[in-house]
Symmetry: C2
Subunit: 397 residues, 2 copies
């Protein structure tokens, strides 16, 4: 398995332009197109308030197929009522009409401000031109066009060999804030030329998301628009793989590696973040406890500000463990920051100055060993800085 | 019922001094003493990691009686193991010995940094002197000595007439950050000369805390040290009141008013806060939903930063409602900021500029009307600012 950002799966074309939805000077509309109809699977926000495009896509995805995805940034088309549903459909229809596709082969994603109608006049004007530009943009241009508060575009691709054929998987995503378990304010599109059954494709996606996007949290907020879509157009020419194929594991691993890398990029790009932080909770009584403890620590503002301040304030981690509601014995808990053992059996080891030095690194690992059971969980997050506040206080103003 | 900060209940004496637990120049040790043994009731943190003094007090409070409380700031005596338990006992014992009281009549509270042993050498030296100074300090001095990141001391007192006698209730508390449901990193001491049964005293305290301290949240973090203690020494000379007395309701209301005022002070003093924010969720399907929605909105960083930025970004409130997990119908929701109706039946009313103007006030009320049932809940919080981050990144450094 080779990582290779330049390599793209066969048969996918891109276009991106500035539709003046965001502030001037930034691309905000992108189109992803597969030359051949693709199998398509997806996962969507579990927020009970879902954006119009999410509702549309959730219906269309029941067909398991698709050929194009149109994405805008700058406006989430959420909390927009019936008008929002009509606008999402019209965006898809305009693409379908220009490409000569059936309407339900086109998916729509939106990200940005909630509660404002889309500027449809403008979109009607530019979508035909966007379609005509297919093939003139790279996946990096798509990544740039879907950014909101992201500070860098996020693309990962990998190649694997499947029965003598080269299969490529490429993922592009956006996400920097409002990131929480059960996906982020994130959109992610994964494209592959793998030939695979729909059920195998779907299973591989679910596994990959569970251990990546569902394990990042920047601020505990969960969006109305989160979407992960995977398209597999089969153009690598390999024999169709199903879940029992010897090649399924290879594909699934590569896909998980891609989503893991993308989710690290999201956590690293957490709004205002200066540090990528991995929390590992080990030897919890059960899986639910391990995850809950991990997320409680990762979402604690006091922990996140201490990390920002290079303060090895393990008391705040203990307090978060205590209010997480998990089963624990205070006098069994060990805790590490990177390789420095800060707490032994619930008590300070006196190594705070070493831990403080460790905190100055850009990537921090906090390990909590509950010494109770066999379950563990990892959660990715970032520190909390004045810039997070500034970005989110000024987002629309 | 009259509010009167200067009036103190009969028979309570105070002392405060600088024991060099905090940075130099600030008082950090206080003693509250009742001339007559008092009935004593209390409520403590529900954090599973409890500080040593909390464990000690939780045992002693089973007697329902007490005569003195010693409080230090600067060190929480939490996560300090057996040594911590011995230190908490010794603090109490030193007070008891100097006053000639039984040990279990003295309660101990600590607040500050977790995981560091108390400077017992220093405490042994100063506690006898602290006891000798009883009567030289005011309740305001106690309030100042127990502050950590608080920016102002918090004292409220009220007088009521009970069967021809004047009864006074005075409350003093500290708390500014790490404030969450089920109490804050807060210590609160309520003193009254009311003559009342223990069970009536306890019931009145539980009611008062439920609708006040348990309804504030600054950052969602919950402390290891939260304690509310009420002492009633009976020195007002009224006939003993029980729960069925006509005077119980009067006492209970006055007590609830005191804790409500103190909790507003805490929310207003939220670390770095510029605004006091009340979230009211109305017409929820049930009480649990109303409270959960209120706390989810109150703890959303995106909502709190928007409030700071004077941005009437109701989409973030909708998103928080959506991920709170409560039952809702998007197209039934109405939303107000102060008196401005921002959302009607799930859609923008177009009054964002009026709402933005309303947000410039120092006290904000957000009302969410779910139009589903009859339950409602109010939660107090504050906005999130760069100063919150600065205060908590630099707390120990």
């Amino acid at each position: 398995m080779k990582s290779s950002d330049g390599k793209m799966p066969n048969g996918f074309l891109f276009a991106a332009l500035e539709a003046a939805i965001k502030k001037p000077g930034r691309k905000d509309l992108a189109l992803i197109f597969s030359e051949r109809e693709a199998l398509l699977a997806g996962m969507f926000t579990s927020n009970r308030i879902k954006a119009a495009p999410v509702k549309l896509d959730m219906k269309r995805i029941k067909t398991g197929k698709g050929q194009a995805v149109i994405v805008n940034s700058g406006n989430a088309n959420a909390c927009t009522g019936k008008q929002g549903m009509m606008d999402a459909s019209e965006m898809a229809n305009l693409v379908a009409a220009t490409l000569g596709l059936k309407k339900n082969k086109v998916y729509v994603c939106s990200t940005g401000v909630i509660g404002k109608p889309l500027p449809m006049d403008r979109l009607r004007q530019v979508i035909p031109g966007l379609v005509r530009r297919l093939g003139t943009a790279s996946i990096q241009d798509v990544a740039a066009a879907i950014m909101t508060t992201d500070t860098f575009p996020k693309v990962v691709s990998k190649r694997i060999r499947i029965a003598g054929k080269t299969v490529t998987i490429a993922g592009v995503c956006k996400g920097a804030g409002m990131i929480s378990p059960h996906m982020a304010t994130m959109l992610c599109f994964i494209l592959t030329d793998m030939s695979i059954t729909w059920s195998a494709l779907h299973a591989a996606l679910v596994c990959a998301v569970r251990s990546s996007f569902n394990r990042i949290t920047v601020d505990g907020d969960m969006s109305t628009n989160d979407t992960v879509i995977i398209m597999a157009n089969g153009m690598a020419g390999n024999d169709v793989a199903d879940e029992d194929s010897v090649y399924f594991q290879k594909f699934s691993s590569a896909l998980s590696a891609i989503t893991a890398e993308l989710s690290r990029m999201i956590a690293r790009d957490g709004e205002g973040a200066t540090k990528l932080v991995e929390i590992e909770v080990k030897n919890a009584k059960n899986q639910e406890d391990a995850e809950r403890a991990g997320f409680t620590i990762a979402n604690s503002l006091l922990v996140k500000t201490a990390l920002y301040g290079n303060d090895a304030n393990w008391g705040r981690i203990m307090a978060a463990l205590g209010y997480s509601g998990i089963t624990l014995h205070e006098d069994k808990i060990d805790m590490y920051i990177n390789r420095v053992k800060l707490v032994r059996r619930g008590l300070a080891t006196g190594k705070e100055s070493e831990a403080t030095a460790a905190l100055k690194e850009k990537e921090i690992k906090i390990t909590v060993d509950l010494r109770l059971g066999n379950s563990s969980a990892k959660v990715l997050t970032c520190d909390l800085t004045e810039d997070y506040v500034r970005i989110n206080a000024e987002y629309r103003t």
